[in-house]
């Protein structure tokens, strides 16, 4: 077998079939995938289905704490879990730049398989395309996912009330900071790694135990906590106020962001959830979250306030208040 992916691997012929058999089916093995139909066919439980899709173009494809494959499974599983769904089935589409080492592809698929098993999901269908050099940055992955939502569970912003509390399930900005160090080859010694992790087991427990006391959940990925909270207030029925002193941020993340001029509130997270919860249940929810490894650093970081305009504010450590706006584009490093 060739050591690198060539255009021939995407032609649909023998090389494609060997690739599917020796890499994808070997590691992602489950009954539905091995049927190798044009579609995966399965029965559905009663109630509602949740359906989500995401594409992953991260560079570098291998980063401290994970790789693009692990990230893809975590991202899609988490998107389902924050809607109250139990994730069940994923699809994965690969767009591979010719020249990618097959051994690298195998490591990525192995990581996907491991993450899928850990979170109890199956990758049941997929697709592979190969493009010319320069037309993709090593590898792009799309994953779509289906999950089952128990009856009575529906998380929308309409359920949010004044006085509700805002929880984050752990420290902010780890993933964004780790990627920054790797991608820009910043010469700083650091133990920071991506927080890339599946949250479904923790969030499914929260959904089951706390019913309508959970108003809504979201995973603050690209654009960080600030962007996700701005999305929640965008229908202008309420605002959210955060407390700067309560934000759980690792010292290393603070230090690296200070040097480079970035704000951890806007740095991506790939293993955290924001949960808006009825204030009367907030302590119990925190106890439940902290029972799980991925939630042991959960904290209340703010509350929902009545306001005619949808804004996110922060009470600063100085005692002042400022707006946390949505960024126009990416954060840019400081000059001086």
């Amino acid at each position: 077998m060739s050591s690198i992916i060539t255009l021939a691997h995407g032609s649909g012929g023998k090389l494609t079939h060997n690739l599917i058999k020796n890499i994808f089916q070997k590691h992602l093995k489950n009954e539905l995938l091995l049927e190798a139909g044009d579609s995966a066919v399965f029965g559905v439980d009663k109630g509602n289905l949740a359906f989500t899709t995401d594409s992953y173009v991260i560079s570098p494809v291998f980063f401290r704490g994970g790789n693009i494959g692990k990230l893809a499974v975590c991202g899609t599983v988490n998107d389902l879990a924050v809607c109250g769904a139990t994730p069940k089935y994923l699809s994965c589409g690969f767009i591979i730049e010719e020249g990618l080492k097959i051994s690298d592809l195998e490591k990525i698929v192995e990581a996907m398989a491991k993450t899928a098993i850990e979170s109890g999901v199956s990758i049941v269908t997929g697709d592979t395309k190969v493009v010319q050099k320069g037309c993709a940055d090593k590898l792009f992955i799309n994953t779509s996912g289906i999950g089952y939502i128990p009856s009575g569970v529906k998380y929308t912003t309409a359920g949010i009330k004044q006085g509700d509390k805002v929880i984050i399930t752990g420290t902010m900005g780890d993933h964004g900071t780790a990627i920054l160090l790797d991608r820009e080859k910043i010469d700083v010694e650091s133990s920071i790694v991506s927080d890339c992790a599946t949250l479904n087991k923790m969030l499914n427990d929260v959904t089951k135990k706390f019913g309508s006391a959970i108003r809504i959940m979201r995973d603050p990925t690209r654009g960080g906590v600030a962007t996700t909270l701005n999305e929640l207030v965008s229908d202008n029925r309420f605002s959210i106020k955060l407390y700067e002193e309560s934000l759980p941020i690792k010292n290393e993340v603070k230090g690296i962001c200070e040097i480079l001029g970035f704000d951890p509130l806007y740095m991506a997270n790939e293993g955290k959830a924001l949960i808006i919860v009825d204030s009367s249940k907030v302590d119990s929810v925190l106890i439940e979250l902290r029972e799980h490894n991925v939630g042991k650093e959960a904290e209340v970081i703010g509350e929902v306030i009545k306001s005619p305009v949808g804004k996110v504010y922060i009470n600063t450590i100085v005692g002042g208040t400022r707006i946390i706006d949505m960024l126009v584009g990416d954060q840019l490093p400081r000059i001086c």
């Binding site: 820009e184 910043i186 002193e245 010292n251 603070k254 230090g255 200070e258 480079l260 001029g261 704000d263 504010y313 922060i314 009470n315 600063t316 450590i317 100085v318 005692g319 002042g320 208040t321 400022r322 707006i323 946390i324 706006d325 960024l327 126009v328 584009g329 954060q331 840019l332 490093p333 400081r334 000059i335 001086c336």
Partner: protein, 361 residues
């Protein structure tokens, strides 16, 4: 480092300083922060929102990208459009608009334009691309210029002949004198730039105090630093003292960084410079010395530096940079000029005054 960060964010110290500042009952005091990073820190910590109305913070022209004239952006775009060039730049320059265009727009069209975190990154880029001309958009004050000088020295030592600078570096002393002598602005005290002071030392500020009777405090960027500087200034004004307090003495010495100053001196010489919105300020710019003329992109590409500066109609960046008006006093602010659709550079740059004000209530 994190212990120092914690110390200068200490709640007890912060609360005490806030109480003392809020107890101020004297006359109106106008304090100008000159440094763009101070503008952003003041905004980020919500410091304006805790000040009594008698203490007014005015933002000055300390944002290197904001004061870069528009013809510079035009020249950078033209260089990016040429064959076989790689434009390298600090991130903030990417979105500065010029007549509907920007470097970000040109990058989307396929021009080779790269953001660098350090000017020294240019050396590797030049070595990796020997057939291209790597042109660095050299903007910044005394904080940034020493590292830019190092990149020039290293390029010459390594015989790298495809690295150039398009210089728009500026120095603070001349514009500080201009602002201090402007009766319209009426500054009582300055929050002096922390990182510039690391390089240049403190002598300039004592001279300003003597000549213009304006007090000041050199400050770092943590809440205790900035609140401490404000408290020092209002106390000095109250006691009619023109003292300049160095509240950032953990990194700022009176003589500054002699090695950094020597590197600037080796590579650059003073020249007149256009400050956007202010005009020509004599001897406030830096250009490459004749010894390094081969790295001078202005000369290599024969670009004129003396073109009429273009300011969009209604844009008051100039007045804002001089502290003569506040962002919301500009008719375009928040309406035609927003972070998504910036008209002037004060809204684009992460250290720009209008961009900072957009984060307020």
């Amino acid at each position: 480092m994190n212990n120092i960060q914690h110390m200068f964010k200490d709640k007890y110290l912060v609360d005490n300083l806030v109480k003392k500042i809020q107890a101020y009952e004297g006359k109106v005091v106008n304090i100008m922060e000159v440094c763009g990073t101070h503008t952003m820190s003041i905004s980020r910590f919500g410091i304006r929102s805790i000040l009594p109305k008698t203490i007014r913070l005015i933002s000055g022209p300390g944002c290197p990208v904001c004061v870069t004239p528009s013809y510079y952006v035009k020249s950078a775009i033209e260089l990016a459009q040429m064959k076989d060039t790689i434009i390298t730049t600090f991130g903030d320059m990417m979105r500065i608009p010029y007549k509907g265009n920007s470097l970000l727009h040109e990058k989307a069209l396929g021009r080779d334009i790269r953001i660098v975190y350090s000017p020294l990154d240019n050396i590797q880029i030049a070595q990796d691309n020997p057939d291209k001309k790597v042109i660095f958009l050299s903007v910044g004050f005394e904080t940034t210029t020493p590292i830019i000088a190092l990149s020039v020295i290293e390029a010459v030592e390594k015989r790298i002949d495809n690295y150039m600078l398009l210089t728009a570096n500026k120095t603070m002393p001349q514009v500080m004198n201009l602002l201090s002598s402007d009766k319209e602005i009426s500054i009582d005290g300055y929050i002096y730039p922390g990182h510039v002071s690391v390089i240049i030392g403190t002598e300039l500020y004592d001279k300003i105090a003597d000549k213009y009777s304006i007090t000041g405090a050199i400050a770092g960027f943590e809440p205790v630093d900035i609140l401490g500087a404000i408290y020092n200034i209002i106390s000095n004004v109250n006691h009619k003292s023109m003292k300049v307090n160095n509240t950032y003495s953990r990194v700022v010495s009176s003589e500054g960084n002699m090695i950094a100053k020597a590197k600037i001196e080796e590579v650059f010489e003073h020249c007149d410079a256009i400050w956007r919105g202010i005009g020509c300020v004599s001897k406030s710019g830096l250009r490459l010395k004749d010894k390094y003329v081969k790295l001078d992109a202005w000369k290599a590409f024969r670009i004129s530096e003396n073109e009429q500066d273009y300011d969009p109609k209604g844009c008051r960046c100039g007045d804002i940079l001089k502290g003569k008006c506040l962002p919301y006093e500009c008719s375009l602010y928040g309406k035609l000029c927003t972070p998504e659709n910036p008209v002037g550079s004060c809204m684009v740059s992460s250290e720009g005054t209008c961009s900072a004000y957009y984060k307020y209530i």
